[in-house]
């Protein structure tokens, strides 16, 4: 069995993590983005940030799985790329980093 399916899951997760970080920062820094992400008012922008992240993550995973399903890919590069995106996503959700990026 090729490593393509597993690689697709890992890279999709990395992209999902980065998207979560970008959406989180956008919702915090840009009032119009916060309104856009406010899909369900009781939960506020968190509903759109996480809901849209899940949609992006699943679509990316599906596309990558289709493209790489039977292929052997360079997993080391995939792991590094996913790792960097996950670290970036983690940092972008950390409030002191968000405040620093917004000059607060």
């Amino acid at each position: 069995m090729s490593n393509g399916k597993g690689a697709a899951a890992i890279l999709a997760l990395g992209i999902g993590a980065l998207v979560l970080g970008i959406f989180t920062l956008s919702g915090d820094a840009i009032p119009s983005a916060a309104r856009f992400f406010n899909v369900w008012n009781p939960t506020g922008p968190l509903s759109g940030v996480t809901g849209l992240t899940i949609i992006v993550w699943l679509i990316v995973w599906w596309l990558l799985a289709r493209a790489w399903g039977t292929r052997e890919v360079n997993l080391s590069r995939v792991n590094w790329a996913a790792g960097l995106m996950i670290v970036a996503g983690l940092l972008l959700t950390f409030p002191p980093v968000m405040d620093f990026l917004q000059g607060k």
Binding site: M1, N3, K5, G6, A7, A9, I10, A12, L13, G16, A17, L20, T24, W40, P42, T43, G44, L46, S47, V49, T50, T53, W57, L75, S76, V78, N79, A82, G83, I86, G89, L90, T93, F94, P95, P96
Partner: protein, 190 residues
């Protein structure tokens, strides 16, 4: 002995789903160490591989339940806005924390981080579960996938532990309470 509905749901979210998830990490750590460490000779059979996949799927399920219950049941009660002129903020945890500089950080850093960081756990655990279910015994031949699974499991634990810690501290400083009162047991008058 009584408990409010909001209390009960918060307990289910934190101690039910979140607490149980934290407990499952010990089993997951043992399993992934046994399968993935280079010095180990254990190659799971098809049946064992499927069991591990189901174990990680159950963990992912708990993580999804924890974040969904947190975001869509508990969080709206936490961030409820008091009517103008309200002086007793005990029913409005976010406002109660932010009204005091000594507790505001629990919201500004604790909740603001927890509400996003926690979502890393179900995402990571879903990927780990998929890898174990898809590859089962063949995982031994894919070093990169094993390494990724270990890293993702560690990240999921970190996200769960941080979210759990802040959840507990937030609820200690500003409990989410309210809703219907559920009487668990009637005590005797002393």
């Amino acid at each position: 002995m009584e408990i409010t509905l909001h209390d009960a749901v918060t307990v289910l979210h934190g101690m039910g789903f979140g607490g149980l998830l934290l407990l499952t990490f010990s089993g997951a750590g043992f399993a992934i160490y046994s399968v993935a460490m280079s010095g180990s000779n254990w190659t799971p059979t098809e049946r064992e591989g499927r069991f591990l996949g189901l174990y990680f799927s159950a963990m992912a399920g708990l993580a999804w339940l924890a974040v969904i219950a947190g975001a869509y049941l508990v969080y709206p009660w936490y961030r409820a806005r008091p009517p103008a002129g309200t002086t007793d903020l005990s029913g409005y945890p976010q406002r109660l924390l932010m009204s005091n500089p000594m507790t505001a950080g629990w919201h500004d850093i604790g909740m603001e981080w927890k509400e996003h960081l926690a979502w890393f756990a179900p995402l990571c655990l879903t990927a780990v579960a998929y890898i174990f279910l898809a590859y089962r015994g063949q995982l031994r031949r894919h070093k990169g996938l094993r390494e990724a699974a270990i890293a993702l499991l560690a990240l999921a634990f970190f996200a769960t532990a941080v979210a759990g810690f802040f959840g507990a501290m937030l609820n200690k400083n500003a409990p989410v309470r309210g809703g219907r009162t559920i009487v668990l047991m009637a005590g005797e008058k002393s």
